[in-house]
Amino acid sequence: MNRIKEMTKGAVSFIKGTPQKIKSGLKNFHLTRKVFSYPYILFLLLFVIVPTAMIIVRAFISEGKLSFDNFATFFTDGASLITLGNSMLIGVLTTVICLLVGYPVAFILSKMNSGKVLVMLFVLPMWVNFLIRTLATKALFQAASLPLGLGAVLFCMVYNYLPFMILPLHTTISGIDKSYVEAAQDLGADKVTVFVKTILPLSLPGIISGITMVFIPTISTFAITEFLRGNSDIYLFGDSIYIKFMNNAWGVGAVMSIIMLIMVLISNFFMSKLNDSNDGSQVGARLW
């Protein structure tokens, strides 16, 4: 689902940035037309707000009473904390590798004339279901008789999420005004300085959104580690939320969901902040 998040981001900032003036011409019909949105508002309340609120409330209920027991259980349990640490470690490693591999790709693509067509080639694999991609990776590892474990998990994560890094980076880098680069050159900067002082800072929004697009899904997926962990005991945050709910430890599962939710909201806050300051102008090359 993530890939679409990236693609619709432009649309979101577009809606936010549009002046409301245009609508004044239609003022007479506001009263009737806005009624159309009421069923959906009700729907959102019932199926988005209420379930989210329930998960939050559930975290504070233990044995039928309001308490912080679930939080205490989670934060004193060594195994859950190791899971949290493992997820963070794998998330950070995956993100760093994706950034290091993906940035040059996005940079080279933005310089090429045929870049737009090539971007499509880089993005196509992410439309194949992630389970199939994961199982294909497993087949590749087994055929090459490579051991499953941390290496295989990392390989598959990078393989699964690299397009999510390349896409926002490419949109941002190809949206950079070339005259900044030329100005820097005119002022006597060498190639490295031009890159470090102009291109890198200007591509920061892309870097941030790429990091979010990779980090959050990496720590919250389940099933990938299940197939690729082999004999090691790598569990990610997503895996353990699933396991907690399947084993009827709903309270602790709810606590973990809240932690996940907070991470999502924080990263989204930074992303929207950067997008607002950049006017969301890089709607450019999107697949849809």
Partner: protein, 270 residues
């Protein structure tokens, strides 16, 4: 020149990395001799014929049917709900429309596993019947926001004078809506529909957690998951993966090429 060659070969290397597992599975699907993970057995289409003769065929067809059924129903509902509410949201006051927009984004930014478990909690607490109802509600909830987002920007782009002209020429508001506004946002409605269909078909996490144990409903992705967990990867699956790859890639290529020609046409019209 050397730099250019280096750059190209770097791109090629990354592409090779991205496609290696897919291409490897495609090759495996044609491997004969039932030898797992090896191409030594020569060429055969055995794994393709086994799709129809395997003892898993009924379960597979059932999963395919469920996937399609859920995808069609939820994408149709999402498209209608999304279109109607996008038009409504466009006419909401500034404050209200901002709030609704933010809530609308929650299913998009939220991580799937959190959404899935909160649905599970919600459904079991309120005693929703297990099975299709839960799955379709779940799918509609994560598809509709994308439909709304596909339509909203277009609504802001349309010149309001066109609509007013229709009214001046004697059309009723309802007629102006159906004859003027809807046709103008039709391409966006369609892309919203395609998007929700794809999302629904592709979904694994929400379906897996909310399908329930007693209903026995499996979609393609949950069936692949369950089977691969139990039996490991059988050659049978390689052929199915290959078919899925080819279908997905073909659909995407067609969609993109069509989109390109359309946008060129659109520019000329202006």
């Amino acid at each position: 020149m050397v730099k250019k060659i280096l750059e190209r070969s770097y791109l090629f290397l990354v592409l090779a990395f991205l496609y290696a597992p897919i291409i490897f599975v495609m090759c495996l699907s044609f491997a004969g001799d039932g030898a797992r993970f090896s191409l030594s057995g020569g060429f055969s289409i055995e794994s393709y014929t086994s799709i129809f003769t395997s003892d898993k065929t009924p379960a597979l067809l059932d999963a395919l049917k469920n996937t399609m059924l859920i995808a069609v129903i939820s994408s149709v509902i999402s498209t209608i709900l999304g279109t109607v509410s996008a038009i409504g949201m466009f006419h909401l006051g500034k404050k209200m429309s901002k709030i609704v927009n933010n809530v609308n984004q929650l299913p998009i930014i939220n991580s799937e596993i959190v959404m899935a478990v909160s649905f599970m909690l919600f459904f079991t607490t309120l005693g929703f019947p297990e099975g299709y109802v839960r799955l379709i509600i779940g799918h509609v909830t994560f598809c509709t926001p994308y439909v709304v987002l596909a339509i909203m920007p277009r609504l802001y782009q349309i010149d309001p004078n066109i609509y007013e002209a229709a009214l001046d020429l004697g059309a009723t508001p309802a007629k102006a809506l159906f004859k003027i506004q809807l046709p103008m946002i039709l391409p966006n409605i369609l892309s919203g529909f395609v998007l929700s269909f794809t999302l629904s078909m592709d979904d694994f996490i929400i379906t897996q957690i909310n399908k329930g144990t007693s209903s026995g409903i499996e979609t393609l992705s949950t069936y692949i998951y369950e089977d691969a967990k139990l039996n490991g990867l059988e050659p049978f699956w390689f052929s199915i993966f290959t078919i899925i790859f080819v279908v997905v890639l073909a659909v995407l290529l067609v969609a993109n090429l069509r989109k390109k020609t359309q946008s060129v046409g659109g520019k000329n019209a202006k």
